[in-house]
Amino acid sequence: MSDTLQKSSDIDLDKRPENGRATAIKSRLTSWDSIILVLTVLVLIVASFSVENFGTSRNFTFMVLDLLPIILIALPMTMIIVTGEIDLSVASTLGLTSSMMGWLWNQGLSIETIIPLCVVIGAICGVVNGFLITGLGLPSLAVTIGTLALYRGLAFVVLGDGAVADFPWNYTGWVTGTIGGGAVPNVLILIVVLALIFGIVQHATPFGRSLYAIGANAQAAHFSGIRVARTKFWLYVVSGAVAGLVGVLWTLRYSSARADNGSGLELAVVAAVLLGGVSIFGGKGSLPGVLAGVVLLTALQNALRLEDVSGQALNIVTGSLLVLSVLLPNITTAVRGNYHRRRLRQAASR
């Protein structure tokens, strides 16, 4: 446990007394999420200059639409992974809400009723996850792999292999459209609003800080008065609700409600979150880093596709990037730890 603590602390605690502020800034700059931020900006700049058609306003719109589902689901996923848990059922929740949306639409309900209803359905999926994990104390990895299959299965029960497509144009058009026909997609407002809310909750409230405490040491957090189980429970509910909302947006974007919508998306989300510097062991990571991770993955894929790089090569690139993102921070921590120990030893022998 102490090992996790050591790794997870943003700042090397034992260095602090010597030259506190300078080291804090230095480690801030060399932390993985700042590296990823810089890398993202770099990729965007290089791609704008070297890849034809990358920097156009239309491509910007396409990119925002491509990253919409990943970025929204990544918001609660970041919190969940920070607490040391995981939710792999999000893409299946998306599929189930998409199916339900099609089915309810066929039943003649109005779209204005269906949309909030779908968010509630997503939240219920989250309640089930949350209950199994916090109520019965089952491991989240196993539970959400189970509900990954379960929710996807239910989605096929609801809609089968068919698709529902005749959603109203003013809704489908809104999701794919831009503000006033310009370059800024309508859905960007949604991304910004939700990212701000999640960012403030995670980084500027006691609740948000308690997530890090839980992730670093759940037992210690419990004894410090943090209601660990309840916090986790609500995170799963929120995660489900957001997945439900994304199910609605996905359905409207492709004007097609299908049971197989979004399959495999959970891996893209987890990949982006880890790339953004969140530790899979919990207790460490920031939302800006995750946002940068999502943008980096999407921009890289978009640019490579514009350069006619084949799909397989694309998978290799994103796969390697992910492995590196897990590997590099660990290596730097190890190197730093080594250096620190050697200095201590030298000091002791003197």
């Binding site: 109203p168 003013n170 794919t176 949604l190």
Partner: protein
């Protein structure tokens, strides 16, 4: 504990925000009149316009590295070379409904002239295809159509009638002038395509020229090799006088031919239907099968490229009755709803089978 419900509250309120954003109260399936944006203001066709050179024609199959679609797009490449255009092949690794959309968006960015696409989902690709058309890109679908208000033309490999008639015709040829008993070895009992072909075939068999043919049974091999093999065996045990087995499925015809070629019925019972040349080659060479049919996938891609080029050059707009020339395949006329039918299926015999590799 006071704080966690706040998170939930914010998410729910954000969700309600979406619901409220386009607030125009109570749009239901019934009240919904979907106008769509798919209608492209099309200029009049000029049948005499020359086909442009250097057209950028991109193929987007359901997924890459599928042997069947490789042959289709291969035919497209031949056509684009003949047209002196720029050929491009892109596609996702999985045939999921939405994975094609990013590729369509990329093709729009690259300012292609023609996109030839086999839609994984008739509707999911629609918004993107319409954006492409708004950017003056011609959209031709092949293999599986997109919704007809978001493409300019669809290359239909074969009509149900065409296949059914062809099956009946081949059965008669193989049974010989005396006619006799025939049986069908189909896929599953509820396979849509096979059932509609068999229906057409049955109607066809009622015509006087087919009077000597008697359809004794429709067996189902469930598109499973072993089950099809056993069903073929069963057919001959129940009907020893059987003259022809007609299998309108590539699995069935291969399994049927394998059984006959290894049995004493070889040379007495004919096998025909729809099959892949590579699977059927050995049975054609050893004389078990004299003739079978399938549309030529290479021709689908070939025709699609020519249709796209003709459209991008302004020769045709996709309206019914317009005509265009498709290289070695000859002249085509656009049918109802922008459909272009490839024509009767290609028949394979021992004389031509070695020209086909798929």
């Amino acid at each position: 504990m006071l704080r966690s419900p706040r998170t939930l509250l914010s998410v729910t309120s954000a969700a309600l925000l979406v619901a409220g954003l386009a607030a125009c109260g109570g749009t239901t399936k019934d009240s919904n009149t979907n106008s769509g944006s798919g209608t492209q203001a099309s200029a009049a066709a000029d049948p005499n316009a020359a086909v442009k050179e250097g057209l950028k024609i991109a193929f987007l199959p359901k997924q890459l590295n599928n042997p069947y679609s490789d042959v289709e797009t291969g035919g497209g490449k031949v056509a684009v070379d003949e047209l002196k255009g720029e050929y491009k092949l892109v596609g996702p690794n999985d045939a999921s409904a939405s994975s094609q959309v990013s590729y369509i968006n990329t093709l729009i960015q690259q300012q292609q002239d023609v996109i030839v696409v086999a839609a994984n989902d008739p509707n999911a690709v629609c918004p993107s295809l319409n954006q492409a058309r708004a950017a003056k890109i011609k959209v031709i679908t092949f293999d599986s159509d997109a919704s007809k208000d978001c493409r300019d033309a669809f290359i239909n490999q074969a009509t149900t009638e065409g296949i059914g008639q062809s099956l009946a015709k081949m059965a008669l040829e193989q049974a010989g002038s005396d006619g006799g008993e025939i049986a069908v070895l189909s896929a599953t009992p509820n396979a849509t395509n096979q059932n509609s072909w068999i229906e057409v075939m049955k109607t066809e068999l009622k015509k006087p020229e087919y009077a000597k043919l008697k359809l004794v049974k429709v067996a189902y091999g469930n598109d499973d090799d072993q089950k099809s093999f056993q069903e073929a065996q069963g057919l001959l045990q129940s009907y020893p006088n059987l003259k022809v087995i007609v299998a309108p499925t590539t699995v069935g015809i291969a399994a049927g031919a394998r059984y006959i070629s290894s049995s004493s019925y070889k040379g007495k019972v004919a096998v025909t239907g729809l099959g892949l040349p590579n699977q059927m080659r050995e049975y054609v060479k050893d004389g078990t099968v004299t003739k079978f049919a399938l549309w030529n996938p290479a021709d689908i891609g070939y025709l699609a490229a020519f249709a796209g080029a003709a459209m991008a050059s302004g020769q045709i707009t996709g309206a019914e009755g317009e005509k265009f020339k498709a290289g070695k395949l000859g002249e085509y006329t656009i049918g109802k709803d922008g459909e272009i039918v490839l024509g009767p299926p290609t028949e394979f015999t021992k004389d031509n089978i070695d020209q086909f590799n798929f």
